[in-house]
Amino acid sequence: MLRGNSACPGCQANLALRHVLRACGADTILILTPGCSAACQGIYPDTCINVPVLNTAFAAGASTAIGVAASTDSNVVVYAGDGATADIGLASLSFALEYNTDFLYICYDNEAYGNTGAQRSGTTPYGARTTTTPGGKRQHKKDIDSIVCAHQIPYMATAAAAYPDDLYRKVKKALSYKGSKFIHVLTPCPTLWGFPQEKSAYIGKLAIKTGAWVLYEKDSGKISISLWSKNILDKYLPLEDYLKAQSRFSGISDKDILELKRNMNESVKRLVQE
């Protein structure tokens, strides 16, 4: 990825892409769906990405990759938002994974539709305000990772832009496997989440330290919690620290915080048990 693009300052989605591309190397074809990553790639004929890029439609990241993967030995990498992945593109993703298409699908999760100005997505967390959930979302974050794992692909991982070394390692590892690989990257977004741009990395780390996001990988069917999350499993910081730092959770009720915590604990418990 070349220097200079039109992302908001403090954008972790584009930061994560930089690390992803660093790990992928030049022998890579990148597929983008509409969203912040596509919007920030530059305006024709310019681009900030120095591997071949194929833009495709919102629901078509995985299905387009099927055709590309059938036509090349290079790495085929989809870099798609949470909306493209967990909502509109879920059916095509599901087929591509079931078919064990030889590609790496990376979902960068800013927990909303960023490009269209902060509407809810399936992965928006409970209680978060978006322009289509002005009173806070009443549904929990869709567990896209379990859905992905149900396809029994060779490699799946979560990552965070705030831990680039972990992300880099996981991309490298994913690419060493044949078949479908999926990495779900948490990419805090100052613009949608409402925190100062210089706090991006801080918020990203806080997500892990409070247990709002857990780093793990499922390698050939075996789950292991990754270092940064493993170290703190029983000593999470209060979730409130994370919520209070973002205006999307401003005004969230104590009851809703409890509900969020209950759901979070259950997810972590399920992970640890596996």
């Binding site: 022998d27 530059g42 099927i66 059916a91 087929f95």
Partner: protein, 365 residues
């Protein structure tokens, strides 16, 4: 090879002989037997292409767009609801200047569920940037698929081509077929294919000026495709002796009345034409084979246009095109929607009861 085959089998044989690199498709009646035949060819090792039975038509075309962007020859097939489910990617394929070939088996649109012939599916997509061809026999289905590759892959064109054949009346009707056996096409050389050696981006954000220029390029290509199609027709004629034109004329030379129609209906009209001629009515049939780009349509006689399709509040789609092209009055007949049976006797009656201008829903009005 000489054989008896259905329209859908002819399409599958043509695809086999075009030797594509990549096929993705999803079943829908009455197209299904195409994808089944291709799966069998693949299983037997005859078909070399990668064949991926995806989970939807949207994905089928997206996957072809992915492979097409890598410079591969691709094929897909669909019908009716499936074609509409692809709509977003139809425009994508043409705007991305990808020479994808698709067979669409014309079928009515729901609701009510209706599996039979009706051209409203593909004609509703007439502005999607695909070149559209309509065939009327099994042999023509075969020939046209091969020509479609020739046209779409021409460096002056690089636009997708949709070959349309009517459900059941053609897709499932058996007729004699002669195949070429072997590919007479040259390898595809897509100038903008993706390549990690010379990285570039396809389809990123485009400013209004650049966007506008790219659309103009595509428009120019669509216009040029007519000439390329004539070349493809000539080439096929030299190979096989079978002649195709954008508008297939039947006894039109001295005709006072021209019946314009597409597909199988036009062949039925030819039978009516013979009967009417015997009675001294000078009728001719102009079968529109190339719908996009819409061809020259220049006849002296009075025009009766048969549409197995409609645009609510606007009338028959072929009638609109012919009116726009000729500036002449048209007697427009909407007939056979949802597979309603029409025989040559109906066409005889249509001509006898026709007026200079107007619209009639046959069997209802």
């Amino acid at each position: 090879m000489k054989l008896i085959a259905t329209g859908n089998e002819a399409v599958a044989y043509a695809v086999l002989d075009a030797s594509p690199d990549f096929i993705a498709a999803y079943p829908i009646t009455p197209q299904t037997t195409i994808v089944e035949a291709l799966a069998k060819f693949k299983e037997s090792g005859k078909l070399k292409a990668t064949y991926i039975p995806v989970e939807s038509e949207h994905s089928a075309l997206s996957a072809c767009i992915g492979a097409g962007s890598m410079g591969k020859r691709t094929f897909t097939a669909t019908s009716s609801q499936g074609l509409l489910y692809m709509a977003e990617m139809l425009h994508w394929a043409s705007n991305a200047r990808l020479p994808i070939v698709m067979a669409n088996v014309n079928r009515a649109l729901a609701p009510g569920w209706n599996l039979w012939a009706d051209l409203s599916d593909s004609l509703s997509q007439r502005d999607a940037g695909w070149l559209q061809l309509y065939v009327s026999t099994v042999q023509e289905a075969y020939d046209t698929i091969l020509m479609a590759y020739r046209i779409s892959e021409d460096p002056n064109v690089l636009l997708p081509v949709m070959v349309n054949l009517e459900g059941f009346v053609l897709s499932h009707s058996a007729q004699p077929l002669e195949t070429l056996e072997g590919c007479y096409l040259e390898p595809l050389d897509l100038p903008h294919r993706l390549d990690t050696g010379t990285p570039h981006t396809l389809g990123n954000v485009a400013s209004p000026n650049d966007y506008f220029k790219l659309r103009r390029d595509a428009e120019n290509a669509a216009r040029k495709s007519a000439k390329v199609t004539r070349k493809a027709e000539k080439e096929l004629f030299e190979l096989t002796g079978r002649a195709y034109r954008p508008v297939m004329e039947y006894r039109c030379d001295d005709a006072d009345v021209i019946i314009a129609a597409m597909g199988v209906f036009a062949r039925e009209a030819e039978a009516a034409c013979d009967i009417l001629r015997d009675k001294g009515v000078k009728v001719g049939v102009a079968r529109v084979r190339q719908f996009r780009p819409f061809p020259e349509f220049d006849f002296d006689g009075r025009l009766i246009v048969i549409d197995r399709d409609y645009s609510y509040g606007c009338g028959g789609i072929l009638a609109q095109e012919i009116r726009a092209r000729t500036g002449k009055p048209v007697y427009s007949v909407i007939a056979g929607l949802g597979g309603q049976d029409m025989t040559y006797k109906d066409f005889v009656k249509i001509v006898i009861e026709s007026r200079e201008e107007g619209e009639r829903w046959w069997g209802i009005d």
